[in-house]
Symmetry: C2
Subunit: 438 residues, 2 copies
Amino acid sequence: MLAYLQHEEDMIMKKYSEMSREELLTLKEELEKQFAEIKAQGLSLDMSRGKPSIDQLNLSMGMMDVLKSTDDLRCETGVDCRNYGVLDGIPEAKRLLGEMSEVDPDKIIIYGNSSLNVMFDTLARCMGTGVMGMEAWAKQGGIKFLCPVPGYDRHFKMTEYFGIEMINIPMSEDGPDMDMVEEYVKDPKVKGIWCVPKYSNPQGYTYSDATVKRFAALKPAAKDFRIFWDNAYSIHHLYDDNQDFLLEILDECEKAGNPDLVYKFTSTSKVSFPGSGIAAVAASKANLEDFKTSMVCQTIGHDKLNQLRHVRFFKDLNGLHEHMRKHAEILRPKFEMVLNVLDQELSGLGIGEWTKPHGGYFIAFDSLEGCAKAIVAKAKEAGVVMTGAGATYPYGKDPKDSNIRIAPSFPTVEDLAAAAKVFVVCVKLVSVEKLLAE
Amino acid sequence: MLAYLQHEEDMIMKKYSEMSREELLTLKEELEKQFAEIKAQGLSLDMSRGKPSIDQLNLSMGMMDVLKSTDDLRCETGVDCRNYGVLDGIPEAKRLLGEMSEVDPDKIIIYGNSSLNVMFDTLARCMGTGVMGMEAWAKQGGIKFLCPVPGYDRHFKMTEYFGIEMINIPMSEDGPDMDMVEEYVKDPKVKGIWCVPKYSNPQGYTYSDATVKRFAALKPAAKDFRIFWDNAYSIHHLYDDNQDFLLEILDECEKAGNPDLVYKFTSTSKVSFPGSGIAAVAASKANLEDFKTSMVCQTIGHDKLNQLRHVRFFKDLNGLHEHMRKHAEILRPKFEMVLNVLDQELSGLGIGEWTKPHGGYFIAFDSLEGCAKAIVAKAKEAGVVMTGAGATYPYGKDPKDSNIRIAPSFPTVEDLAAAAKVFVVCVKLVSVEKLLAE
């Protein structure tokens, strides 16, 4: 299977764009042969889903035994976690997710099984009821959200669901283009921005200190503008010795005199079990009170037994970090396998760039303009499912048709090696076709 | 403490309204003495909360051991319940809650930890997005809901939260006044009705077959009218040999040619653990598709491990019924204790009426008009907390100020005996004061 690498040796250091038409045609023929060989293998591989592997899930199996029928199921204030009550979470869960979010427990509300749901509810409340007594967004009409791109497809989908206009903000290694953000928030119709500030989805970038400080210092025209700070990968490092650090946004907002500017979301979805974790919002007290105005009508309380289960299993921040190190040991070789294949096969060819994240769940690949859809389709033809091209942009429209999200977490290292090899052949082939068509 | 019963013997058969002013004054003096004695005891009792007692919660402790770290945590289709996915619930959970709801599993969506949350989300979707492609209720403006009274305070609270006008519909033993319902639904602004059709909150009434059939045959002017059928107490019987039966509404709606007329809600909140149960909606396929349009943006899926936990613990409908019989054994003596005190102390006095439910969580007491608030305040003064008077009506306003909800589930039988005795003294005293003031 690796035989074809040999054939390419001669060309590997030459940029495709510097090749002659003849060279490109020869290369195309060679790549088509490789592609046919791969296709004949009838592979069935998947690099599309940002979900933990079975090995990672097994790390949390102890959670199944941590609450037993013989245990006292009261929380530390004596409340019976088996019964109704405690709207905003048991104290020890607030402390645990407070530590994870780097905020005081009294700035935390514990929610149900996923932060995505909390974000949706938050948008629904802002739309239908408004922010802190201000007019409902739906009534104001014509409202807009800033969307750093590439970004998380589900953020964009729910924003579209609520009929909110989305504006692309380009990302760099330092975070969103803050000049643009500062300019756009002068428009009172701009009500929010989606941020995955640490190990961003899909690039794995972490916002720089300067970026965070500029966010905290924003002076939006709309008093009901909020930063939706989805800190989904706060403790999801790949390396012990090479971690990104993110300034704590609530603290920065307070220092900048904007304490109410941000909603910070977190969850244990990729810490314990996705779908069976606990989620939280961290925000100023005024914002949390606003959250509670709807919560009090929406629920008597979230699943306290699952809160207790998480606290008794992880105990504290050290427990969480120790656990995340085990996740990293499983994830690291997968990221490195994909990155190695990309390095070996595509370096110097000028047909793609990719990120090398220190954490999170994704690698972002940027192909030549206009090639992403074709590459993803080609990979599918060869039995490798990638995230749909365009998914990382609002309305599913990548204006350059170049971003592809690679999710290395779920497959085995062996499957990833195979899938990555398929991917690079597809990248090469589509790139050659594009250059020949120019 | 029971001494005062003796004093009253002479008067007990005489209606208060037939007493002379002198008799009432003598009685008042006697009751004030009794009240002072009770108050001096410094009681602290609570008949306000419709929540299971600790003994009831203990019935479900086996659930804590039913998923172990050594178990296979895949559902019957092989999906790993520890990971993302399965938007609408694992098949075996749909079957279990389908059986509980008396509908086909393919008419079920499994939700998170409480049906209250599902109802709120449903209202939010109807308000913000509309029903099955029709104009959003919020855009239509001026919309109204029918509210059988007395009813469940949290239904009314969330309806008020969304700014929906509420219209009282009187309840009888057969259910809501269907003449009124049929009349009101001619108004296209009337979009829904709240029903707790079995062992209703707070009266414990079960809708008659005729009522259910009239619901199913409704021809509302609004095509986006929906019956919100909160079947919260479907299997919550107090007696094995004296159970209420409720016609299955989805089936009746289909037969009547109105398959999309109803949303049916259920949960295991008072079956397993309140707050840590699983909830479901049963509805026509068209309605469920409509639910999924928002669900797919709102969540990747609900807590499948908790779904699995419930299925493995209860197994099937027989398991549920067997479990509910144990609940009944604990609840029955409590209901009977309160009812006995009411019978012994208030029968024939013409100062109150009360329901004698065969299931559910509440007894409804109707005092003389204009007395409920005073009775609840008096009871509080003597250390007995009752549900706030008016809570069972929209906007907290009981037009007759006469309905009081009694919740016998949580206290011990002994505490209930004491609390009920306090309650009847308060009823008597406030009634005498009212009659004297007339």
